[in-house]
């Protein structure tokens, strides 16, 4: 049992969302986490599949996906509706009193539409420092209600924005660390940060700033993990007690005292 005042901020990636059996087993473990907790879910490929069926072509500039007006509607439907509410209904079935939200709900995450420089990313929201509103999250947590956040924010002027789920997780973790001991766990389909992307067993158990610098110098890390690590260090430096990157199937161990995966400190 965690000490009182601990909140787990748990982010689960799109590859878990896309796999129904994996997701069900993850949600069962999440429901059983013996502490206050928040779930942030990624979107998965279902938005792309539904967008394709609706005839909305994915739009890329320099390899970066653009969130145009049609795409923000699709992700609002799919992330904020289909995925979020199915996760909530399943958590309820597992005895976890979940409430599904976006950053627009209760104004939890006011964001800013990314300024147009070389690329116009469209309806993508960046979260300014100090922007997250902890009062509604605290209200729910302290009432025994578990927030489940979709990767969406808003601009305060009526527009929903697409925001990276890892960033939402770290921003929320930092904001809540003013009120709780916060442990941030990134759950995905790998066992942790790998020294060799081809070898699933090459998990690095601990990364601090020095080790990170060395890994970057060695070119050992895959591109995909770098934003996660940057988010993790930013969180640690802003008051988050602990960041873990690990397999979604290891959530139970990672919330009951042991560590499976990569600990960032």
């Amino acid at each position: 049992m965690s000490s009182p005042g601990t909140v787990y901020i748990i982010k689960v990636g799109g590859n878990v969302i896309d796999n129904p059996a994996f997701l069900d087993s993850f949600l069962k473990d999440f429901a059983a986490v013996p502490a206050l907790k928040v779930l942030i879910h990624g979107g998965g490929k279902i938005a792309t599949r539904i967008g394709d069926k609706l005839g909305i072509a994915a739009n890329y500039v320099n390899g970066r996906r653009i969130t145009d007006a049609e795409t923000i509607d699709v992700v609002t439907m799919v992330y904020g509706g289909l995925v979020n509410k199915q996760v909530v209904a399943k958590l309820q079935a597992n005895g976890c009193n979940a409430i599904g939200l976006t950053g627009a709900d209760a104004n939890i995450i006011p964001a800013v539409k990314r300024p147009v420089k070389e690329i116009d990313y469209g309806f993508v929201g960046d979260i300014p420092e100090g922007s997250v509103q902890t009062a509604p999250v605290k209200l729910l947590l302290d009432a025994g209600i578990t927030p489940v956040l979709a990767p969406l924010t808003h601009d305060g002027k009526g527009q929903i924005l697409n925001t990276n789920a890892d960033t939402i997780a770290s921003s929320l973790a930092v904001a809540l660390s003013a009120h709780y001991t916060v442990r941030l766990i990134y759950c995905f389909e790998k066992k942790g940060v790998l020294r060799n992307a081809e070898d699933d067993e090459s998990v690095i158990n601990l990364i601090n700033r020095d080790i990170y610098r060395q890994l970057l110098a060695d070119g050992a890390l895959s591109d995909g993990i770098l934003p996660k690590l940057d988010n993790a260090f930013a969180a640690i430096e802003s008051g988050v007690k602990e960041v873990l990157i690990g397999h979604a199937g290891d959530l139970q161990r990672n919330t009951t005292g042991s560590v499976a995966g990569t600990l960032i400190c």
Copy 2:
């Protein structure tokens, strides 16, 4: 200004949701209602349009729409995601601290999948008497947060269910009347209950049980309004202070002391 302890339960119909300019003006008025309030929105035709684009044909038996497995996913996306979150973002822009929910969220409305008799309605949820959980709604209202409910419930076993928005509104109104003075307002595109469906000015200003019986005997009422009136009388008889059926454009008058539309008592 309403007396303390008053909550307005305001339902807005699908025809308003489908008309962006009408919806914007309604949401501005809703945001300005000078009391605690809850919004319940219908779905509108957008779910049908998106279902058509996705190749999901509407399925009718004896003229009643069936919510099959594909359809419940579409309405979960569209009502619970697109419509609900756009309404929330717009209310936030109007200074109303809205939170968008379904009946699955915080377990507000546990429902029962409609039993199969002559017709299998599919994933349609009926709300048992006494089922609505007022604690989370009260928690939000008393914190100055305005719940916005999509017409969706859940069965507690992981399944989202499609539930009539009028029924959600009256069930919630009845449940909250244990804690507040509740005024229930059904807002739609007509000026009230009409004596003659062809004449938009033939509004009946007041309906009680006796008048209702007479109107039914005369065959004066259109079929569409009957479930609304049945819901209204059920609400009044279970503790709701007042039920009004009126035009969405008359919300401001109907929440500041005057009455435009049909008062049920």
